[in-house]
């Protein structure tokens, strides 16, 4: 598909003999909000890893903003505007929360040669957005698992991406916090950021997504309007069992 911001074609990934992803096609247009769901182990995070360059896919191709990503190091993809959060938070544990956000600002935003911002103010703003205001001087070890998820999201946002992939950023959050993050993501999207959201919380996915993609056992089994996709018998079967 031409004109798509992200275009994944025939992507395949194996771990030894185990086929984690097979022939995945996925095109995401600029400005879209896409939900990606699937049972545990269906390959969602692996797909994110292949798109972002953390893992190498054996077959198929990833295009982002018209550029072929194959073989490109992850940091260059991030600099091109493709940021992701990790499902299991991976904070820089010897750096404070604020310093965690400085890394992508220094290495991505400044690298693009955009005007330098007041770093501390920018970090405070990001922390405020994800609900970590006032925690900037803490070390990640002092955060709860849920707060680490928020930090993970803030760090991905700090790179000021064109495409943000949030891998289960909301797991464990309270009802109110889920709503807060949803509002935040929708607002980012309004500002032009394309977002792929991976989530098990169906309420959040349905509320957020303009389009829903379903992975089951490494294959894409559905892709379309959320309300129709969840009524798809194949999707129902995958979720409810035979």
């Amino acid at each position: 598909m031409s004109g798509a911001l992200l275009d994944v074609a025939g992507l395949g990934k194996r771990f030894g003999g185990f086929v984690a992803l097979e022939a995945i096609d996925l095109a995401v247009a600029a400005g879209e909000r896409v939900g990606l769901i699937g049972p545990n182990g269906s390959g969602k995070s692996t797909l994110v890893n292949c798109i972002s360059g953390t893992l190498r896919n054996e077959t198929g191709q990833v295009r982002f903003a018209g550029k072929v990503m194959d073989g490109m190091a992850a940091h260059r993809r991030t600099r091109l505007g493709l940021a992701r959060s990790f499902q299991l938070p991976r904070p820089f544990h010897s750096l404070t929360v604020t310093e965690n956000l400085l890394i992508p600002i220094e290495y991505v935003v400044h690298q693009r040669g955009e005007g330098r911002v007041d770093l501390i103010a920018r970090c405070a703003e990001l922390l405020e957005m994800v609900g970590l205001a006032g925690r900037g001087d803490d070390l990640p070890a002092g955060l709860t698992q849920v707060e680490m998820r928020k930090l993970e999201l803030a760090r991905a946002m700090a790179a000021e991406p064109r495409l943000l992939i949030a891998d289960e950023a909301m797991a464990g959050l309270s009802h109110q916090e889920v709503d807060d993050i949803l509002t935040l993501l929708v607002r980012l999207n309004d500002q032009g950021v394309t977002i792929i959201m991976i989530e098990h919380i169906m309420r959040a996915v349905m509320q957020f997504s303009q389009r829903l993609v379903v992975l089951v056992a490494g294959r894409k089994i559905a892709d379309g309007v959320p309300e129709e996709v969840i009524r798809n018998p194949e999707v129902e079967r995958a979720y409810l069992g035979e």
Binding site: G53, T54, L102, Y107
Partner: protein, 319 residues
Amino acid sequence: MRGFPFFLTCLLVAAGVFLAARWTENGYVFFAGYVVLQYIVLAIAWNILGGYTGYVNFGIAGFFAIGAYTTVAVEKLVPLPLPVVMLAGGAVSGLLGLGMGYLTLRLRGVFFSIATLAMAVVAQTFMVNWDFVGGSAGAFTIRPMTTPYFGMDYIRYLFLLMLGLVVLAVVVARAIERSRLGDGFAAIRDDELAAEASGVPTLRLKLIATAMSGAFMGMAGAPLPFYVTYLDPPSAFSLAYAVNTIAMPLIGGTASWMGPLIGAVLLASLQQLVTVTISSAVNLLIVGLMLVGFIIIAPRGIIGWFGIGAGKRRRGRGR
């Protein structure tokens, strides 16, 4: 403190150290002090890679000895002023660091460390078989009594050069810590995948670290032939260099340049003292005991006691 005032402060402190050493009117102070200074450089150099990026290099003796052998080779070809020879030693060992970094890019943790140890063994084997620099028989280097200019005592001159190198190493290490480069190193040390995802070019930064670390070790080794006057592979590649150099940042703390500095001053002075009063054979025992002691009472080193380290000092840095 900004970079330049800090540099001036370092120069003043160095001048103070030199004057104090002169004031003792004891030639041995320069002789022993040289070793302490050499270890400060080695420890800070090791820490650039080991402390900042978390890659533990066991091949210190390799870089150090290659720096020393560069001097032997240069002396035989075209005798040059020692500061120039030191730069040459730094260049050769820096290239060696770059090569090592390149060959071990995919290695992490203990596999990286073993590869660095192997590098040192290969370098030693190479030197044993290279007759131009003395081969296994070793090489003599004539140490002049005094420098050609100013007529300074040569040991004092070596001391002064090493003191200058300490200032350079401290200034560079501190500048790294406060720069984007230092932030990138810290990100690599904490989580390489997350660093990449945050835009950090991890491979390039690792190469910068291995090259810089190697270069400083080479510069520290370059004056060695003049200091010992006889250099052979077993002494130049002595494992004691690696053991001491790694122990020093661990004792002092790896999070800041102050750690290796304090650790080196403490451990190397103690070793020099013991060499005179008891025997040099006790040196490694001292290292072992101090390491065990500090791992128990100060796991983040001496500077960890003062809260220097994790969650750095960056607030208000205004970049």
